[in-house]
């Protein structure tokens, strides 16, 4: 078992005088094996991004555990243990706009991971160019530029390149292809498959797009209002949905090969 998420919960308290409690993530549990693609599907506000942040140790949980390769993630102490964790678990962030420090060139995003891998000098250059090529970018087009000089699609692909250099055991990909034009989505998905086939990388896709989840995952988890309301294979979810939320989702998604009744 690569990853075990057990009863993960996050409650936010907001407000200055009238304190309100917002339960963003409510008792979420699921597992992931090596070389597996899982999708966490939900609309904005469903708690999927918050769950991912906790798994990435970027947000402390209110209660619950995350166990990675047998070790308690929240019990890790010190810089060395953190580094070792991030070498194996990494993320692609949804908003390529906010995810980059606007004052640094994008090269920094790529070069930072070498702290975790330990490469140096010429090896670094080679790996960076190779990764950029894999995501369909020409290094002359993007190296040395600032984030605002690149398009959303380019920024998103650079983050994928970062993960490719690292080749972690688990990637949490938050809407990794939302900004990429339809004609190039497939190549990025193929890259994820390559990582899975060659390096046994698992990917947890965090998305609102049930179509993407259906196409790419081995298992689909539907989240709504902080909890997982349904779990199953893509076929289970589409053909035998159990929960009313899943059923409604299925009805409301615009399909390509079938027409909505009554439209």
């Amino acid at each position: 078992m690569l990853l075990e998420v057990k009863n993960l919960t996050k409650v936010f308290t907001v407000g200055l005088f009238k304190r309100r409690e917002i339960v963003a993530v409510d008792d979420v549990s699921f597992n992931a094996e090596p070389a597996e693609f899982i999708s966490l599907v939900g609309e904005s506000g469903s708690g999927k991004t918050t769950t991912a942040r906790m798994i990435l140790k970027l947000l402390p949980p209110t209660s619950g555990e995350v166990i990675f390769e047998g070790k308690d993630v929240f019990g890790l102490k010190g810089i060395e243990e953190s580094r070792s964790y991030y070498k194996s678990v990494h993320s692609i962030f949804q908003d390529p706009y906010a995810a980059y420090n606007p004052l640094h060139k994008i090269d920094r995003v790529l070069n930072q991971v070498f702290k975790l891998t330990g490469h140096s000098g010429a090896e670094r250059d080679r790996l960076v160019k190779e990764a950029l090529k894999e995501v369909g970018l020409r290094h002359e087009d993007v190296l040395g530029k600032f984030p605002h000089e690149l398009s959303g699609g380019q920024r998103q692909r650079i983050m994928v390149a970062r993960c490719y250099i690292l080749k972690p055991k688990l990637i949490l990909a938050d809407e990794p292809i939302s900004m990429i034009d339809a004609s190039t989505k497939a190549s990025i998905l193929r890259l994820f498959s390559k990582l899975r086939d060659e390096y046994k990388t698992s990917v947890i896709f965090i998305t609102h797009d049930l179509g993407l989840a259906y196409y790419v995952s081995d298992e689909v988890l539907i989240m709504s209002e902080g909890s997982i309301v349904e779990k199953g294979s893509p076929d289970d979810i589409m053909n035998r949905p159990q929960h009313p939320y899943t059923k409604k989702l299925r009805e409301d998604i615009p399909l390509f090969y079938r027409k909505w009744p009554g439209f």
Binding site: A99, L103, H104, Q112, K115, L116, R162
Partner: protein, 279 residues
């Protein structure tokens, strides 16, 4: 970032205020070096209006007011810069630590900040100043600097807190960077504008505070500053006796310095605000 400098220079407000400010600095620094007359030397008849020999006239002791003005401006600037740096350093360290660490450290530091904020700084300055027999410019800067930092700490703290939740921090965290490194490489550059504005405002406030302290007789004990000149002008009733060449120029220079600094801070604010929103 040469592009940054180019862009900044295009703002007219900044041009004007920078010109005035740098003009005053250069004049006072070079002037006090080049002008032959020593400021505190008695060189002529007392209370003379401006003439060819004494371009700004003389004071009640017969000292050259132009020499006094040049030296005084230079010292006031020095005290202003030193005090501003002291306040900025204290404010930055406390603000960054409180904002970044949060929790109990934040509460403790904010408590200290609030206490210092509430203390009447003039009284403190007066007490300390009166206690010290000898007050050199550095001590005066220290007194002013040690009481002027609370608002800086608070402003920096809220900036840090809002930046902390921006996602670009996550990438550095996941690269295994230590906290201090994340602060220096990621956070501080994004706060450069705040820090620059804070410095400018601190300096303006410090020079006025120095003038205030001096005018109640608690300024530097040796040497001269704008405030000291104004102090003498005041106790020898230059206003009532119409000796405008004594109180006029130092007052005007002080106002010009403060005003140009304030204008600079607005210009910086204008320039940085839209850019900070992602560009």
């Amino acid at each position: 970032m040469p592009q940054l400098i180019k862009d900044l220079l295009r703002i007219k407000k900044l041009d004007a205020s920078l010109a005035i400010f740098i003009g005053i600095i250069l004049t006072s620094v070079l002037g006090s070096m080049l002008y032959a007359t020593k400021p505190l030397a008695i060189v002529g008849p007392a209370e003379q209006p401006p003439s060819v020999e004494f371009p700004l006239g003389t004071d009640s002791w017969g000292r050259d007011l132009l020499a006094l003005l040049l030296a005084g401006t230079k010292n006031s600037l020095r005290i202003g810069v030193t005090a501003a740096l002291i306040s900025l350093t204290i404010g930055l360290v406390i603000g960054v630590t409180a904002g970044f660490k949060g929790g109990i450290i934040d509460s403790a530091l904010m408590l200290v900040t609030d206490v210092v904020l509430v203390l009447p700084s003039i009284l403190i300055m007066m007490l300390v100043a009166a206690y010290l027999r000898e007050r050199n410019p550095f001590y005066v800067s220290l007194i002013i600097g040690a009481t002027g930092w609370p608002w800086v700490a608070r402003a920096i703290r809220s900036q840090i807190m809002s930046l902390k939740s921006r996602e670009f921090m996550y990438l550095s965290k996941m690269a295994g960077l230590k906290d201090v490194r994340i602060i220096i490489e990621d956070l501080l550059p994004n706060m450069a504008s705040y820090i620059a504005m804070a410095f400018v405002l601190l300096m303006s406030g410090a020079m006025i505070a120095e003038a205030g302290l001096s005018m109640i007789g608690l300024g530097v004990t040796k040497g001269v500053s704008l405030g000291i000149i104004l102090y003498w002008a005041q106790i020898l009733e230059s206003v009532r006796r119409g000796m405008w060449w004594w109180f006029g120029p130092p007052g005007a220079v002080l106002v010009a310095l403060a005003a140009s600094l304030l204008l600079m801070s607005t210009a910086l604010d204008e320039y940085f605000s839209p850019r900070l929103k992602g560009g």
